[in-house]
Symmetry: C2
DNA sequence: CGTTATGTTGACCTCCTTCAAAGGCTGTGG
DNA sequence: CCACAGCCTTTGAAGGAGGTCAACATAACG
């Protein structure tokens, strides 16, 4: 059991060269040869829903790339509450602050069973100095984190609940599109949209009554994308 | 007049080696010799309140470091509205996305007369490859942007208005502390806190009636920091 | 089959929005 | 110096949206 990865199952050394998401995660751009030389300390983990990858304030020694599944980053503030500040899916990276020797800024919790790569921060920093391709990928990841945070502020924290929920569902995507068709429970929806669990539940129930969206054991299925898009713009 | 900087007054080539904020902005860590060799294309601008540094979607060719004053980054979404996603003060950097050849993600508007350095993205990218010190500064700036966005989500978009406003005022700081003692107008407060201008005005008026804060031509003066801190934690 | 966690719904009340109007400050022109 | 316009702020009143507390339903699970 990894100290940073509660309840995570260790699968083995990562085989980055055969990883189907290689091109969309951190090491995109490196050739197989380059990968073979460096991938030894990288662990491949499977973490079930509920697993905590790391906790806010913990000393960060690794970054995590998400190969599949979904991970949430939550920020606890003084007065309780605690809000979800990011949802990560395939190709996203968690814990970049570890590269700067900063403590983890969030608590990372698995929402849907996830395949992850755990990469020592030290390794990434070494490669960063010698591999211009990785270097650019790093900057892109950081920018993506900024974009996601900004998008959350602009799209999920402004307007009426129905509009916010519609935007969230559209962001989560559809089952047959990408790996992002996961459904959230009402509590997480509330923490993401900045409302109570009850309000999130009421809005979702109404959406289902209207036939705009359907739920299938953890997945969400769209029935009327147009209706959601119309709501999102209101 | 610079194309990217409406109403900005051009002062001259930047003299980074005598810049008092050099240690807290992008080139912190470089020696004077190193600076002398590279600072030629850097422009020093003075921009009055209301000036627009760049607009969302514009092709980004420069990053801006803020030497003094205050700048807001606003994100316009489809359905109008438009929300402030970041407040920048002395030492902060705007437009990092230009380094990745991405269009500007926000509109940058000066809120309080600002001294700025306009640095060509190309120059930063060149230095990034040869100057490890600058490289680390860059990553730190990106992380700071993430932190600020997350902080906004957690602190300024959750809870009752009074708590949010108290947190905002504490963040803005006090006049005799740093350069962040600026007061915002009610419209910007609303755009930052996610409420209407009227609600922001009502809350501020009440704070002033209670004697917790005072306003002096654009600056804010604390009278009762404890009261604000207590509100912030509620 | 009971137990527990999660989702749904209702009733009531608070907070914020909306629309409207009045007050205050500043700059401009007579 | 005063009058006036324009902008920002403040305040009021009415309505709606979401919070809160509680009950109940449903699903998951041993």
């Amino acid at each position: 059991m990894k100290p940073n990865c509660t309840n995570a199952e260790w699968i083995g050394r990562a085989k980055c060269s055969v990883c189907e998401v290689r091109n969309i995660v951190l090491f995109a751009g490196l050739t197989n040869d380059e990968l073979d030389r460096i991938l030894h300390p990288i662990d491949n983990l499977h973490a079930p829903a509920g697993a905590v990858l790391y906790e806010q304030g913990g000393s960060g020694s690794s970054v995590f790339t998400v190969r599949s599944g979904m991970v949430k980053l939550t920020l606890d503030i003084a007065d309780g509450g605690g809000r979800i500040v990011r949802l990560l899916g395939a190709g996203d990276v968690a814990g970049l602050e570890a590269l700067l020797a900063q403590p983890y800024k969030h608590t990372a919790t698995v929402l849907h069973d996830a395949d992850l790569c755990r990469i020592p921060a030290e390794l990434v920093n070494q490669l960063d100095q010698t591999q211009p391709k990785l270097h650019r990928q790093l900057l892109l990841r950081w920018q993506k984190a900024v974009d996601q945070a900004d998008s959350l502020i602009a799209c999920l924290a402004s307007g009426k609940i129905e509009a916010r929920l519609a935007r969230l569902l559209l962001k989560l995507g559809c089952r047959d599109e990408s790996s992002r068709g996961y459904m959230l429970n009402r509590e997480d929806m509330g923490a993401l949209l900045g409302v109570t669990t009850e309000t999130a539940s009421r809005a979702m129930a109404e959406f289902k009554r209207q036939g705009w969206v359907r739920e299938e054991k953890g997945y969400c299925v769209f029935c009327n994308r147009q209706a959601l898009a119309a709501l999102a713009h209101a």
